[in-house]
Symmetry: C2
Subunit: 208 residues, 2 copies
């Protein structure tokens, strides 16, 4: 399977984990690593790691393992982390601010190109080196910001309108942190990140 | 399958979505709803919805659908959202503050019982009606806070120590927002929420 093909989401999520772990390993100056050592660092089983990587043509050398720098570059290409991807954040509340300041984004090649809010009290204030812009100007500004991904950190009732606006501005990929279900054209992709869902899963597994 | 059995995580995540959607429907005073209407509101296919619900013994009446209040209660019991679950937040930065203020938590029956940080500049400051406590006091305070779930919103290098401390304080369920992989005893469960992973998945699906 080549980098341009569409791998299943759980596989991509694991690849992103390997990418992150390999970054740490690279910083430590380790040249080769085997799947058991990667398992120790991320909790994904060595057999799953070998399966995922061989799926993308990567086979570790017996007794030596994978070449760290080369493997990380390859995974970066598959995930398209080998280029800068521009992101806009819609909603400059606490969560929007937290994401704008999240160090992991830079590490993965994501650049926050703009942050928008519809609250006049917030517009014009600084957030992580950017100035919060008026959400009403999104339509005009998004094309020049050239962002491919929009992150919605708005309240549920505002989410559909925010999604419509970013799509009108040319964005096709949305990461939705709002609790609302948003409807988008077929050409768009939405990933929902639901905090309450994560809590609910843990709650089910609680002892009492 | 009864409420006490352990359903697979993706099923639980969908149940949490139904629970949320049914809450909105209930607020609108709708008594019965069919799977197609639920699909319209959450994007999960009607056939998947019927399959999930029948798995837990819920079958809609032909031409009528599911009884909204009863179905929501049943799902709440399965997810253990029919009781208050106490949560502590470790890390009072932007993300910790955002989660402490997240309205969805209350709606799902989660109560933030405490918030901790190891930064003296932050200790003692108010966050969502709580006062940030010294992380060093966690061990002593956690048992009396009686929290079952800990949320880690600390930087990666601080995550393992924070996890060790909450486990020492009796917590067995951890929602890990840090980018680090944390190791826990078998009796504990960790859910990782990785923002960079979510971005990486979207990046792979971007057009160029």
């Amino acid at each position: 399977m080549q980098g341009n093909s569409k791998a299943p989401v759980p596989t991509l999520a694991r690849l992103a984990t390997y990418f992150s772990v390999l970054g740490d390993i690279e910083k430590q100056g380790i040249a080769f690593i085997n799947s058991s050592k990667i398992e120790d660092r991320c909790g994904i089983s060595a057999s799953q790691i070998r399966k995922d990587l061989s799926h993308f043509g990567e086979v570790g050398k017996p007794g030596v393992g994978y070449e760290v720098v080369r493997l990380r570059k390859h995974i970066g290409r598959i995930l398209k982390l080998d280029r800068t991807q521009r992101v806009v954040i819609i909603g400059a509340g606490r969560l929007g601010q937290a994401l704008a300041a999240y160090p992991g984004l830079t590490e993965y090649g994501f650049e926050v190109a703009g942050i928008f809010d519809n609250d006049p009290a917030v517009m014009g204030t600084p957030v992580s080196g950017l100035v919060v812009r008026d959400a009403a100007s999104m339509h005009a500004l998004l094309p020049e910001l050239n962002a491919k991904i929009a992150v919605l950190t708005v309240p549920g009732p505002a989410a559909q309108q925010a999604a419509d606006m970013v799509i009108e501005g040319g964005v096709r990929r949305i990461l939705n942190f709002s609790p609302a279900h948003i409807k988008v054209p077929r050409s768009c992709m939405v990933r929902d990140v639901s905090f309450t869902q994560e809590f609910a899963v843990l709650a089910h597994y609680s002892e009492d």
